[in-house]
Subunit: 413 residues, 2 copies
């Protein structure tokens, strides 16, 4: 948690309603930080469905392996999240820590260990002393309440400079259902997954398979379309929990993601994913500019995505934006290195709506003063038109500043 | 050209001998810089063989397209290099500039335009006014002499902080032949090619096809194994010229790269490529540490290369090294995101010979103070042992410092 809030932080934090069937509690377990909460326990009512998507790292953390295995049951009773230590690359000790944490949590909540979901974030390669949860989780289970989502979002932060939450209330059948989400970033963010940790809670009665399908589809253009530094965490975890409590008020039970009654819910769900993942980009380490990269006219959407990611991850593009320089030459470089079909002489590039390059050369109407003024904005939209086909995609990133280097060059000390 | 020389610069600049059949001259053409040379003309004797490898960018510069086309002839009479403007992404104007430059050079040298090779480095997206070469190239052709390679290497610099040359003298048959090389970096360096511009000259009598085969094989573990920021330039060009003048002293004419008489030459040639590409890494923008990454025990060499590059291009690994932090957790992250076969629990990692991680966890003998002391060295060797197979590879990179951001956030102003 930094003392300086990102200038790109949302102006307002929403009021977070209660989600029936979910209780939360946080504590200071002293994992690494002093004088701040670093453990979150979320307890869900019996019958809660769970879905999850995780890092594609070949070296995932112990909690990721734990969750992947438990996801098969489709049911969750509790989520334990700690910050300060990611329990990643900790060998057999790491597996022991997850097992012990789950055991302590299961006892505290009164459920099976296979219904416990775990996430850890922070330093990797350091053993996590799960005995620190002993006692703590028991007290949390006793005091858990229907809901301080802001406190929960705060407890899972690491280098984040602001807490990230989003909420939506929408009709499912004739009943009102609520979706709450939280996320933490802010470095080592790259698809896939894009954020280190994010959790969604809803009282909608959605079966595990349907929830999983919703989540998998929803991340594609949200969390998986965000990159901070191209570095994929070993711990990236996005879990969604559906308690089903709204069934009591008449919400229909949904067993398929394609159920037409789910339309409004799906839209709201995806908006929450989009909102949270944008907040992650807004809190990229050292970020001073939110950068939206749109690539259109590519051969396919996948090709557009690859080119957009090449631009988004280019240190030269990112430092140019930090320097408020509309250096479209570097954008061309990043298009060229993506390896996807591109015709230099058909390329057009615009920064914040001002076209700077056209047909493979500087736009004749290019006005450096006008563009320089536009580059001072905190949000920069780069649009690249390839002129080859109908493939289009959009990704979010941030600039690369000296502050990023400072944060990451001195993280452990 | 920076006023502060990289602390990683070689201590000594070698004396560069003359290459029979090559004459050089430099001038201030005022392309972009003031009060420094920015154009190099190298004139080669008739019959000089040429070979080249270029950027794999889908949006190459006009000079790259020019050279690729002319390479088919296999013969070169002159090389014109300018710094300050890369003539990249300049549309039809760019093609016009290369054609005009070649025309001026051909007239000055007295040869066919198809024997002129061109390279440009500097800002991209700005039209290059080739009329500035008019007169200049004529004067250079008149004054060209057998050899100031240091002045030549200086004229092609952009953000380089030191000039990069290498030389070797070796037996070919019973005759002595000489190889001289020069290169310029220092940002936007990534395979393939690794450097923006590099030129090799030799008096050995080697036919174009053999020279091309030598060059292609030689770059794989040298220039293509160096990355500064993962950004591939639109202009990367490596040309080799063999005048054949040593045939007069009895050097045998070589028509195949596999000719056993070429063994010593090949070794020296590859050493020059290795030397120059290492100098490029030593002059990475803002670099304070030279980083050698060795991956062993991978399934294949290609897999080892991909993992080594993932580590070398990770901003989190690079900033950790800038912070003198042996953050092997980030190395694990970079191994994991490479997508190549890796077993977390078999991984071992060493920094400068000190093993910090073993069998998927912190090495029991890990001594933070010892490792911290080792990380203060200007050269950092990271060795990753995967324990899966016999694939091994090595790449060079540098750290990511605030200075990199400063250099690239304010390049154009």
């Amino acid at each position: 948690m930094s003392s300086t809030v990102s200038p790109l932080a949302p102006k307002n934090v929403p009021d977070m309603p209660v989600i029936a069937g979910v209780r939360l509690a946080t504590a200071e377990a002293g994992i690494r930080y002093k004088n701040r909460t670093d453990v979150l326990l979320a307890i869900m009512d019996k019958g809660t469905a769970v879905a999850g998507v995780f890092t594609k790292s070949k070296c995932p953390s112990a909690p990721v392996e734990w969750c992947r295995a438990k996801l098969k049951g489709g049911k969750a009773r509790a989520l334990v999240v700690n910050s300060g230590n990611a329990n990643a690359f900790t060998g057999k000790t790491g597996r022991g820590s997850t097992a012990l944490t789950a055991k302590i949590a299961a006892k505290a909540v009164g459920c099976s260990e296979s219904e416990i979901f775990l996430a850890s974030t922070g330093v990797i390669g350091e053993p996590l002393d799960a005995t620190k949860f002993d006692g703590v989780l028991g007290r949390l289970a006793e005091t858990a309440e229907a809901g301080d989502y802001l406190a929960a979002a705060k407890a899972i932060m690491t280098t984040d400079t602001f807490l990230k939450v989003a909420t939506a209330t929408v009709k499912l059948g004739k009943a009102k259902v609520t979706i709450n989400g939280m996320a933490k970033g802010a470095g080592m963010i790259a698809p896939d997954m894009a954020t280190m940790l994010s959790f969604i809670f809803t009282d909608a009665p959605i079966a595990p398979a349907a929830l999983q399908a919703l989540l998998k589809a929803g991340v594609e253009d949200t969390f998986n379309a965000v990159t901070i530094d191209g570095d994929t965490s070993t711990s990236d975890t996005l879990l969604a929990f559906a308690t089903g409590a709204a069934a009591e008020h008449g919400a229909p039970k949904i067993s398929r993601a394609s159920d037409p009654r789910l339309k409004a819910f799906t839209k709201a769900f995806n908006q929450i994913l989009a909102n949270l993942s944008e907040q992650v980009a807004r809190d990229g380490e050292g970020a001073r500019k939110l950068v939206e990269i749109t690539v259109e006219g590519a051969k396919t959407k996948a090709s557009a995505r690859k080119i957009a990611m090449s631009i988004a991850n280019s240190p030269l593009v990112k430092t140019a934006i930090a320097g408020e320089d509309a250096n479209w030459g570097r954008v061309v470089m990043a298009v060229g290195k993506a390896g996807e079909p591109a015709d230099r002489d058909k390329l057009s590039i615009a920064f914040n709506g001002i076209r700077v390059a056209k047909s493979g050369a500087r736009d004749p109407s290019y006005d450096e003063a006008q563009v320089s003024e536009a580059m001072k904005a905190p949000e920069i939209a780069i649009k690249v038109s390839l002129g080859l086909g109908k493939g289009r995609d959009r990704v979010l990133t941030c600039d690369l500043t000296k502050e990023y280097v400072a944060i990451n060059g001195d993280y452990r000390s």
